[in-house]
Symmetry: C2
Subunit: 242 residues, 2 copies
């Protein structure tokens, strides 16, 4: 905690990444990273405002928070900024009806979204659901649209499970971009809008905030571009190359 | 044939794409494109040298040629330049032992290649074999290599089956490039080496040759960059946008 405490001097708010910082996902739900349950508890006892800012798109917020609570974390749904709810807001604002290429675990977040006659495609970290058949269907939906809109929940390259490194949504986003000749809209880190909405939720300005994450691009680079400080942990997908 | 005949004036050799020009692949093997069986027969009766130059990487040359012969085409294995045999030559020259992410139909082309303890990944149009599990395995192999080498058999965006447009290998190549932070080596059109090897096989110089294909990038653009003329057919994946 010594290093954290120093870097936190002068800041009013902390954005915490979840996967790779609080826990590593994996079979049976995953495991808490050593010291992180206590670190969150200490942050919450401090005068600092805390917000969890995740690109997790395999699970609904409810499922994710339930898992973290079982691992011992002090966290509630209302404290989490996640890409699926942010996407739903965008879909409603723009009258978009998505074809979903997502993990079954996150589908419930889209329960009140009109999905008839799709006019866009939403992809998230779909894991095993990234079959050729499902990718091809998403591709065909995009190719049939006059103005194809592809929304990607994050653009991570990979993440770490207890069993090893796993392909994240970013590659699949690139595959559809290339095949269709389009550019995706990314909802989630490192999009500035996403960081801003997390800061807004705790009423903290960017220059008063620090982002703590394991992703040198999504977490650290993204936060710095928004005027925040950032700290990369040496857990999760951290590599000495970073 | 009138338009072809005009454009062919002054040329000594013709490179013919296969998928989308001679036939559309699909269930049951596919169907010949109207007029193409007779067009190939006429070309072969002419003084022009003819070479088939394909990015087909789902089937072995033997299987592809067998299919085309059953559809009525005058074609033999020795007349076909295809990426799998070209890749095998590169693997041997450079002492590369591939992890294959390919369609079962083309696996036999790699029968005499050493695949123990892989030091590169070869991907081709794998169709249904582009599962998340298989993509993740290829990703993990690359991430474990000190100098990751990814060879892609073509980089097509999509192709046309009788049932509709289908994702080609290009998107999956981009996915692995992005996830691993590397650049693939492409064997096949539009790589200049590939066109040159096809021209060499018929002893024709680039300026004396014309490429006939349905892909504005892989066939037309690639051939023109090599100094050949090119003609885009209005079959296969041709779109009026081209």
């Amino acid at each position: 905690m010594a290093a954290w405490a120093e870097r936190l001097a002068g800041v009013r708010g902390v954005l915490l990444d979840i996967s790779g910082v609080l826990y590593d996902s994996g079979s049976g739900g995953g495991t808490a990273i050593a010291g992180s349950v206590e670190a969150v508890a200490r942050l919450k006892r401090s005068p600092l405002k805390v917000r969890f800012c995740t690109n997790e798109s395999q699970k609904s917020r409810r499922e994710l928070v339930g898992l973290l609570q079982r691992l011992g974390f002090d966290i509630s749904e209302e404290e989490v900024t996640a890409p699926a709810p942010a996407t739903c807001q965008i879909l409603k604002e723009r009258g978009l009806r998505p074809h979903l290429l997502v993990h079954d675990g996150v589908r419930s977040e889209f329960d009140d979204i009109n999905m008839s006659n799709p006019n866009c495609v939403v992809i998230a970290d779909a894991g095993e659901s990234f079959s050729y058949e499902n990718m091809n269907r998403a591709f065909q939906v995009l190719m049939e649209l006059e103005n194809p809109v592809l929304i990607s929940l994050g653009k991570g390259r990979y993440y770490k499970e207890t069993s090893g490194l796993m392909l994240d949504v970013g590659g699949y986003m690139k595959a559809l971009e290339y095949a269709c000749g389009i550019e995706a809209e990314v909802v989630g880190k490192p999009s500035p809008e996403f960081f801003k909405s997390a800061l807004q939720a705790i009423g903290v300005e960017a220059h008063q905030a620090i982002m703590i994450g394991d992703d040198i691009v999504g977490d650290v680079g993204g936060a710095q571009q928004c005027g925040m400080r950032a700290l990369q942990v040496r857990t999760g997908k951290f590599s000495p190359m970073d």
